[in-house]
Symmetry: C2
């Protein structure tokens, strides 16, 4: 990373004084001064900015601008009208989350720009400097004689100052479910990832990456690029220039509409964010994304409680049952390229559901998810015209919705709704209200929604403005019916959970199910040690961990590429207010390690990343709300490593009953993944202990207040 | 041990030929020839015998004889009338037990004797030589003009051939609940053990030991002295002559009746047994005691099923609740010498019982025991006149027997009855039939009975003939009502479970409860490694293992002197077809090690003692009936030791899912007893593994068929 010499700042200041009529402040530093943003207009009136961290340039001169459908571009010819500096230091509370209280402390700079020539269009840029990163958004003020803008593209540059090691997925407009790649910026090749046999919808138009994308400089500095508050706008990918090491925003478009964003004025873009951390773990502890969103718009969210759940889902992926009543399809039929169908059993039948309810009740799970309960599944995928296929209120004949819900209620378990839209959002929108009403009637307060396949209508993409608005519409209507949403095949998280806490979790990554049938061997051991520092920065994940029968006997070509101890550790490492124990109930029976899943919290007073390196390993400790119990999770990639946990995070003077779940000495994700050792001992804050994580392994510790 | 020179046998034969008119066979060897018994009459017509093992004398010349109340003694003046040799080789099946099939293979010698002079009384002695020991019993044939005999004492001698290391409890006529002592025979001092502060009834009239008593010679040979088929006779203690190293039978008497045994003719004494083993573990594998009993008299015992159970019991011993409704007494009041009463809660209330039923149902326990459910407990101990105090059909007002039994039935759990007689057997006998009828009405098929205190009427002792007959009467009547008995403060087991399988288990040893309040510090770590080779040879034990909260927080002066891993191992080491998990349900919650208790079998296809030394350690492997799962338990005394388990007992070619529960590296029964490590791995018959048992520690392994 380039060192920023004093004369550089001097030069800028010189320019500012000569280039602008007023002596406006055009730089802002974070409260501690570690991060600073410098704005300036180039000589042709193009907005530019730079970012420095501890006086080292991390984003070199990068320009900003827009192309519009009905106007000429706004990429130059601007003059500075006014700048405003501000300071904010507030603390807000998460109704559930990685921590109870969040400090939102930043200095901001709002730059007001105007075209020098007619039509004198206005553009404001709002910068915020935090100690954990920087952010800026564009504001399009009301303009005389214009009530909306139609954006063809946004040109926000991020000029890197080194060929950083980058942990990236391609800038797919439809899906985030690719494997993370680890390359230098100069080696990023998203195009090469176009043809993925296991994705029902994928579109990678150019060499771009999706966000959050995380980089590590040769000097060990960490940068994560993302966006916050994605509202009525298109999702942003980052186009990569392998030569100049410049990233440029590339919004997801709509082939149908021929633009990328159309929005009423006044308008704001999402925040473009750069989280900056010397220590990789600080990326995870950063709440910058949530801080950049509006406070909650929901007065009361007490109807939702964070919980662990089980459900009818993994058995379909294992080929043991099907979503559709007629059992015409299973994961083997359409996902593993012509294998014979293995199951003729419809999973979501009343008897089977009751089995899961019983298991949930017996083991303290709050919820039971059932996929495949409603009509439409025999045409859900592989058919072009899927409008009107799914019905979100009509159960299959073997699924007695009344009986199931009253049985669950009696057992103290809440059913979790499932809405697979098969990426036909217009069909879903028609039925949405009735669907949420049905849920409310049955006391169901959360729904897992799915958007598998290519979006209908054709020409729309999952991450475009049209879909962003659909996802939002679902969220807002769901809130009216006290329904929380866990969206799969979603738009990425951008901190919206602060504003709409009923956005409880998302998929939006290559999940556990790929381990059951992906033709590329499933998720490699490095997958989750990357995810923790990339995808997880965008918000809660419904990863559905907890596979105990790791060898997947019904899937001879597949297995989970982690040890059992790592499956446990994921409940701590991967944050989500809902956490599935996804394996079959019978696979937990007789397993002492199941105790950890029963014990582990889902809602946290505070979280600490003890150590970690992107793509290698990570150790997180979280304190459960109410109980004060602590849980530690550590995961590693394909390499074994020794970690030392210093228990100084525990409350002083208290002794905690610890249960340690660690890899056995001969454990290995490939050959001996289920070998786990459980140890109990008393632990207090004065202690530290060294543990070995085996290849693909993990460590999970529960520390219960005496 | 003396070597038996050839001329010794020659001399005996010479004597036989000269001393008896006929050339009768008077010796018998076991089928393999390792054990042999030699009978002879001394020159004064006194019966004598010797026993040799592998040509080494283990019992030197020992005489036999009786004193009668109304006759002169029968200790000499006898002549040999006839001897009969026989061979038996049968296999019988245990309805439940340590193994399914038992081979009963022996050679026998019946010696018929007659007084040379009038009244020419007859006495037969029936010897059996087994490969695992020898036995003999006296038969009193019908005698002209005599319909019964009244025995003042039996004089059966066991002349030891060395000053063996002996594992003994005193020859108490009332109780077997003393700590085992380890001394040379010459150092046995039962008198010194007379005053025990924690025993409600104890009577040690002379320097004698109770049986089974086990000895180890300097050469490493093991001998256990006991009796089999104790029917209508008094229990036998063995008087010790510290000088001559001779043991002599001393029957338990009746001060009230002034004799020891009165029985109709023809009559038989119990078998006097000597189990002989080169390897200590062979004592445990020996089924000699059961083989010496009659086949089952019960046609159908399918109404009883071996099971694990929980119950309201340990909480009273912890001082958390009381037996009596009025809560006038608890274990602290009368058992720890004047401590303040700590509890005012009656344990056996309906709500509390339901809690245990729920816990049992949720965790696969078959039964729930409730003590303190019936009226009488406020006068159950410490009162001289306890006749009529207990009522075996009237529940306390807060114990809704109908509701409880129907609730249990609904949950698939069977209630276990409890009958504390407070050692007033006449009161019990009056109500017995009504009590068993009540059980049958509620579908209860087992009862834990208790005989705490001094026997009423005064002058009777727990181990005398009168009580032997009472215990038998209960057993026979219980069988009529399909009730199985688990007697506490019982007469010792003598293999009667073969004849009456409804004699399912007994206490008859210093049990778990002493750990909660004994003023001598509870059971030391060597206790159970002795019990396995002594008390356990007399039959199934209801030891009530499974304490997880080993530190006993409510009992500052007490704790369990084993590690948690040992508590688990006891489910395998200590045999019983009913096994309690005695700790409070809340102490099992969240404990991964509880899985072992849930998994472990209670009924066995076969059992193998892998290794062990009396008083030091023992490792037992047992194969569960039906499932074919194996379980291994190992326990050690106060010394840590390494054991190697060779898994060659497993079925060839099968892989077993093993869960290993072992002491943590820093575990210790005193300072860190709960530190347990649980490991899983695949194990097959070709493997062997070395484990470390820590001080007071243990090892438990479940090996589940895939």
């Amino acid at each position: 990373m380039k060192n920023v010499p004093y004369f550089f700042f001097a030069a800028i200041l010189l320019c500012l004084q000569s280039c602008n009529t007023n002596n406006w402040e055009t730089s802002v530093s974070s409260p501690s001064g570690n991060n600073s943003i410098q704005f300036y207009l180039s000589s042709d009136g193009t907005p530019n900015y730079t970012v420095a961290h501890n006086n080292n340039m991390v984003i070199d001169t990068s320009s900003m601008g827009f192309d519009f459908k009905d106007h000429h571009p706004l990429r130059g010819g601007l003059q500075l009208i006014k700048t405003t500096l501000n300071t904010q230091d507030e603390t807000w509370e998460m109704p559930w989350g990685e921590q109870r209280t969040v400090r939102n402390h930043y200095n901001s700079l709002r730059v007001e720009l105007e075209e020098i020539e007619a039509p004198n269009r206005k553009l404001n840029i709002h910068f915020k400097a935090y100690d954990d990163g920087v952010a800026f958004r564009y504001e399009f003020p009301e303009q005389a004689g214009r009530d909306s803008i139609t954006i063809i593209d946004e040109h926000t540059e991020f000029q890197l100052t080194g060929d950083h090691t980058t942990f990236w997925i391609p800038g797919d407009w439809d899906i985030y479910e690719q494997l993370y790649q680890t390359t230098k910026v100069s080696e990023i090749d998203a195009i090469a990832m176009r043809d993925h046999p296991n994705l029902a919808a994928t579109y990678i138009p150019e060499n771009a990456v999706n966000t959050p994308v995380t980089m590590r400089s040769d000097e060990g500095l960490h940068l994560t690029f993302h966006e916050a508050d994605l509202t009525d706008y298109a999702g942003m990918t980052l186009k990569v220039d392998n030569e100049t090491l410049k990233l440029t925003s590339e919004l997801v478009g709509s082939d149908r509409l021929g633009h990328k964003v159309k929005t009423a004025l006044p308008a704001k873009s999402p925040w473009r964010t750069i989280q900056i951390a010397d220590r990789a773990g600080d990326l995870i502890e950063s709440r910058l994304i949530e801080n950049l969103n509006e406070p909650s718009k929901l007065d009361d969210v007490s109807w939702f409680t964070p919980m662990k759940y089980v459900g009818i889902w993994w058995e379909m992926h294992l080929g043991l049952s099907t979503w559709d009543l007629e059992a015409t399809q299973d994961m083997n039929t359409f996902a593993t390229l012509g294998q014979e169908q293995t199951s003729t059993k419809h999973g979501a039948n009343t008897e089977n559901v009751k089995k899961y309810i019983d298991f949930a009740a017996a083991n303290g799970f709050g919820g039971v998810l059932v996929e495949g309960w409603n009509t439409g599944w025999n045409y859900w995928i592989g058919f072009e015209d899927r409008e009107g296929v799914f019905d979100f209120v009509t159960p299959y004949e073997d699924f007695d919705i009344d009986e199931i819900n009253s049985y669950a209620k009696e057992k103290g378990v809440q059913m979790i709704m499932h809405h697979e839209t098969s990426a036909a959002p217009r069909t879903y929108e028609k039925q949405m209200e009735a669907a949420y009403e049905l849920m409310q009637k049955h006391g169901m307060h959360s729904v897992k929604s799915g958007y598998v396949g290519k979006i209908i209508p054709k020409g729309e993409y999952h991450h475009g403005q049209w879909m962003v608005n659909h996802y939002r519409k679902a969220l807002e209507m769901a809130a009216e019916y006290q329904v929380a949403i866990n969206a799969h095949e979603p738009i990425k998280g951008t901190g919206l959970r602060r504003t709409f806490p009923n956005m409880i979790a998302r998929e939006g990554l290559r999940g556990q199910e790929f381990n059951a049938w992906a033709t590329d061997g499933g998720n490699p051991p490095e997958h989750l040690p990357i995810v923790a520092f990339t995808r997880m920065l965008s918000g809660p994940i419904d990863f559905t961990p907890g596979v105990f029968d790791i060898g997947l006997p019904t899937k001879p070509n597949n297995q989970i590429n982690t040890t059992l101890a790592q499956q446990l550790a994921l409940y701590v490492v991967i944050y989500g207010p809902i956490q599935m124990a996804c394996d079959l109930p019978e696979n937990y029976e007789g397993q002492p390690a199941f105790q950890f899943i029963k014990d582990v919290g889902v809602d946290w007073e505070q979280s600490k990343v003890l150590h970690g390196e992107v793509g290698d390993f990570v150790t997180i400790a979280r304190e459960e709300r109410e109980t004060g119990n602590w849980f530690v999770g550590a995961i590693t990639d394909e390499n074994t490593r020794e970690i030392t946990v210093d228990f100084d995070f525990l409350a002083d003077g208290k002794t905690y009953k610890a249960l340690i779940y660690r890899d056995a000495d001969d454990a290995h994700y490939r050959d001996n993944p289920e070998a786990v050792v459980i140890e109990n001992m008393d632990i207090d804050s004065g202690m530290s202990k060294t543990f070995v994580l085996k290849e693909g392994g993990g460590l999970a510790i529960s520390l219960m207040v005496e």
